[in-house]
């Protein structure tokens, strides 16, 4: 569709003008972060510093109790003697004073003392002896790992305090540290006096060497968090605009007027989209500048070597990387705003969008995450990982470009969806449901098919993560039968679809089976060739392939069971899911070639590992094509099962799948062409194709 730039510019300029005159926008996006937040942070910082200074400089009162009270006092005296002569400042002086108390516990409860030093007599432990004094710090259960085990035969200092009072916690902690250090000094002196030949501290030296540069270390720290912070800014900044932009207009009644002008829906949406992106970026810029002000005021600590990690060139590159993210967020926010009937309702919808939107930004925190995985196909998450890589100086350009394209593609797709949404009558009418929603059936399933498959993919990923340690047979049963087939049954039931039509459960013409016989080896070798080709551009490490082979093809499982679980079950249940439900849900929305490609791509994405994407997508597209040509799912089922079985046989017989003679690929291509010629000659058109 042609966009008339004067109209788009007029719409965009007016959007901005209205937004910048909106007190809500100014208050929440500019005044609040630029004035109120720094004031609050400064006030909070001053209060905390004053409190810390008080705790640092006060003299703590304590009581000494228990049968070893005299030993405790001696240890305290030694500690004071060790600290005071060396202290150069007032703050490092020994600031503890003993209070005489008959009921120390009561005094601690009342606050007249800060902690108790209780000297406990030696408790002999079987088989253990010793004479060291032990400080048993902590009584409250905090920091269990710091609590020392009592040494047999040694008396113990128990520091009793109250964690619900800052002064008690601080004083007891300082005293524990001081006593521990005294004990260490005493131990060293003791060892020396008994003739220990070297300094105990020199017994074993442990040294670390970090090969990463300072820039890389700083880049990792920054790269993990920057997307999360920026996403938060973009989402909150964009939401203020997006909510007003459609839901606000709907509430004021101006949307109806706007839709009756000669501006096209796409022009209106593009202008609104640009408005959201512009304001979101402006607010992000303001907030980022604000962050730097906080850093300047020492309200926020900056990662070490920050300047080294973020060069001007990096800033430009990061801006470019985040552009599709801002565009995608703007589209999603506009769609959300469009779904709401009022400003208030849109605000309610915003919270879940914010939470879901932040999840992909958390991906860089996952250990060992790499762009060379399925993550590169996940919008926003892929940019987050790419940014982390860029900041650590690891430039995997093909994957960075792919990540950018995927997120930009998602932004374009959601923008188009938004433009289609502006055509929706529900935008103007008060009716909650339209004809399609009221009647249900295939038209409604067509509308919902993407959300079903997105949800199913998410569930599969999560469940697979939980069951990856289980037996591979159980994993496959859960994935294929419970999840995929369960989802198929749910979809059929929810939309009252006829299983025969939805799953293409029709017998094909007999000659089709001959075509399948040709297609099985032809398709298998072609998919291998496609894999080799993809591997040439995006090489997969051998370790990844071997690891996958070991986890999926364990030697402990009988071969017949391998055939059952890895050939027959996928052949049935994956076909019902993808060439059945998915194909049926999309067949009236996409033209046949696009339909075949899309079903193939979705099938590839479901196989999660990036190196499996290309061959499985290729096979998936071929299975979709045969289903469309024959109006039957059975040929695809047989082809799929037989193709997997060939792979298993090849593995069992240790036939190499790589390095085939080029003539093999030509022969495979010929067989595939013959197979499709047979399918075409014996075709039974799939009904309702676009």
């Amino acid at each position: 569709m042609k966009l008339r730039s004067p109209i788009v510019f007029t719409l965009f300029r007016t959007e901005l003008r209205m937004l910048l005159r909106d007190r809500r926008v100014l208050l929440t996006s500019l005044v609040l972060p630029m004035l109120i937040t720094p004031l609050l942070m400064l006030g909070s910082k001053a209060t905390v510093e004053r409190h810390e200074k008080t705790l640092r400089e006060m003299t703590y009162r304590y009581a000494v109790t228990g049968p070893e009270a005299a030993s405790v006092r001696e240890l305290v005296r030694a500690t004071r003697a060790r600290i005071d002569p060396r202290s150069k400042t007032n703050q490092t002086q020994f600031r503890f004073a003993e209070e005489k108390s008959d009921d120390a516990t009561n005094a601690l409860a009342k606050g007249s003392i800060h902690f108790i030093l209780e000297g406990i007599g030696a408790a002999p432990l079987p088989g253990m002896t010793g004479t060291n004094a032990t400080v048993k710090a902590k009584q409250s259960g905090f920091d269990d790992e710091e609590q020392e085990k009592p040494v047999a035969g040694a008396w113990t200092v128990k520091v009793v305090f109250r964690a619900d009072r800052d002064d008690s916690g601080s004083g007891s902690s300082q005293m524990s540290d001081a006593l521990r250090e005294s004990r260490r000094v005493q131990r060293v002196d003791l060892l020396k006096s008994r003739g220990f030949p070297v300094k105990p501290s020199e017994l074993a030296a442990i040294d670390n060497k970090d090969l990463a540069s300072k820039r890389q270390v700083a880049g990792l720290a920054l790269g993990r968090t920057i997307t999360l912070v920026l996403m938060l800014f973009i989402l909150t900044g964009g939401a203020v605009v997006a909510i007003d932009s459609i839901a606000g207009e709907k509430e004021r009644g101006t949307l109806e007027t706007l839709l009756t002008t000669s501006a096209s829906r796409v022009e209106i949406l593009v202008a609104k989209h640009l408005g959201v992106v512009a304001i979101a970026l402006l607010i992000t810029l303001v907030q980022s500048g604000n962050l730097l002000v906080y850093v300047g005021l020492e309200l926020l600590p900056l990662p070490a070597n920050f300047a080294a990690a973020v060069t001007p060139a990096t800033v430009v590159l990061l801006f470019f990387m985040y552009l599709p993210v801002a565009a995608l967020v703007a589209s999603v926010l506009l769609l959300t705003s469009g779904c709401a009937k009022s400003y208030k309702e849109a605000q309610i919808y915003f919270m879940p969008v914010l939470l879901v939107g932040l999840v992909p930004a958390l991906v860089p925190f996952l250990p060992g995450i790499s762009l060379r995985s399925i993550i590169v196909l996940l919008p926003v998450a892929n940019i987050a990982v790419a940014v982390k890589d860029i900041l650590t100086g690891s430039f995997d350009w093909p994957m960075i470009v792919l990540a950018w394209l995927v997120t930009a593609g998602a932004a374009v797709w959601t923008t188009r969806a938004g433009a289609r949404f502006l055509l929706s009558e529900r935008l103007i009418t008060a009716s909650d449901r339209d004809v399609v929603e009221a009647k249900g059936g295939l038209p409604l399933f067509e509308r919902h098919v993407w959300r079903w498959f997105a949800l199913l993919w998410g569930v599969l990923i999560i469940v697979s993560g939980y069951i990856e340690k289980l037996d591979v047979r159980l994993q496959l049963t859960v994935n294929l039968v419970v999840l995929l087939f369960g989802a198929v049954c749910l979809m059929l039931r929810h939309y009252h679809l006829d299983p025969r039509e939805a799953l293409a459960l029709h017998a094909p013409k007999p000659m089709v089976w001959l075509g399948v016989l040709c297609a099985v080896p032809g398709g298998f070798i072609t998919a291998l060739g496609v894999f080799q080709l993809a591997n040439y551009f995006l090489p997969t490490p051998t370790s990844v392939l071997e690891g996958f082979s070991q986890s999926v093809l364990p030697k402990s499982i009988p071969f017949w069971q391998m055939l059952l679980f890895m050939a027959v079950l996928p052949g049935i249940f994956e076909e019902l899911t993808f060439r059945g439900m998915l194909l049926h849900g999309l067949h009236r929305r996409l033209r046949p070639v696009a339909l075949v490609l899309v079903v193939g791509v979705v099938f590839g994405i479901y196989h999660v590992a990036l190196f499996r994407f290309v061959p499985t997508a290729c096979l998936g597209a071929m299975f979709a094509a045969v289903t469309l040509l024959t109006r039957s799912i059975y040929p695809a089922m047989l082809w799929h099962a037989a193709s997997n079985a060939i792979g298993l046989f090849a593995d069992k017989l240790q036939i190499p799948e790589t390095g085939l003679d080029p003539i093999c690929y030509f022969a495979a291509g010929g067989m595939l062409a013959a197979a499709f010629w047979i399918f075409w000659r014996n075709r039974t058109p799939y009904p309702g194709l676009k």
């Binding site: 007029t10 009644g253 007027t257 839709l259 002008t261 000669s262 339209d434 009221a438």
Partner: protein, 261 residues
């Protein structure tokens, strides 16, 4: 010569959670000629707004066809919208724009070049007598002033067809009269005007032809004189009741008319 607005067998069905299918517009046909005010008279929920929204391409017809200046609402919606000015029952103005900015904005997005838009806006401000508050933000204006701005916004790009959906709702008598005067002036300029109302006196006074719409159907369509002759009633109120009650055996009290979603 084809009339600027032609509606043929138009139908629109909505689905309601509790009532199922609701026929908001049912086999509606009419024409609106240049220099004519065509009135759509009906109770609330009769199907007037739905019909007008189909003409403005906001809703799609379930059946039938409609065209504006020869452009079909389904196949050429942008050309349809470029040919009409639509005024909804609320003023529906942007509160944070001034009156001048509002007019300029609507002129530009309806395709007027910058200079032409500026010239038209200045002329309309003068014509509607809104010079004093032309640079005040719309949310500071009174209801009558807002209504004037809304009407000026409807005609700012000089469309040949104007649609007014209950434009006098919420106005006091003086403002309503002024509104009627303006609409009559547009007729004199040769524009085809569709005027929807449930106020009988307004229709009686303004409309050249009146279609009585009830439960989505047009039950009578004629000049006032023709309606008087065919029903034997003098006052439009009596004509309306007569037509509605006689029109269908299942006729029910007006308050239960088909709802417009």
């Amino acid at each position: 010569m084809t009339a600027p607005v032609v509606v043929q067998n138009l139908a629109k069905t909505f689905y309601d959670e509790s009532r199922g299918e609701v026929q908001a517009v049912d086999d509606v046909s009419f024409e609106c000629r240049a220099g004519e005010i065509f009135g759509l008279l009906g109770a609330n929920g009769a199907g007037k707004t739905t019909t007008l929204r189909i003409l403005a391409t906001i809703l799609k017809p379930s059946a039938g066809s409609a065209s504006v200046m020869g452009h079909d609402v389904l196949t050429d919606p942008e050309a349809v919208r470029a040919s009409l000015g639509f005024s909804s029952s609320t003023t529906a103005l942007y509160p944070r724009l001034t009156a001048r900015e509002t007019l300029d904005f609507f002129a530009r997005i309806n395709g007027c070049p910058k200079a032409q838009a500026r010239e038209r806006v200045a002329r309309l401000i003068q014509r509607f007598g809104i010079e004093e508050y032309a640079d005040a933000r719309v949310d500071k204006l009174s209801q009558g002033m807002k209504q004037k701005v809304a009407i000026a916004r409807t005609v700012v790009h000089d469309p040949p067809v104007l649609i007014f959906d209950e434009p006098t709702v919420g106005l006091d008598v003086l403002n309503a009269l002024e509104m009627q005067k303006m609409i009559a002036e547009f007729r004199a300029e040769g524009k085809a005007i569709i005027f929807s109302t449930h106020i009988m006196s307004e229709a009686e006074k303004l409309c050249d032809r009146i279609a009585i719409i009830h439960r989505g159907k047009i039950h009578a369509c004629d000049t006032l004189a023709g309606l008087r002759a065919s029903t034997g009633q003098h006052y439009l109120e009596d004509i309306f009741v007569h037509v509605v009650q006689d029109s269908a055996p299942e006729a029910a009290p007006l308050a239960q008319g088909a709802a417009t979603p």
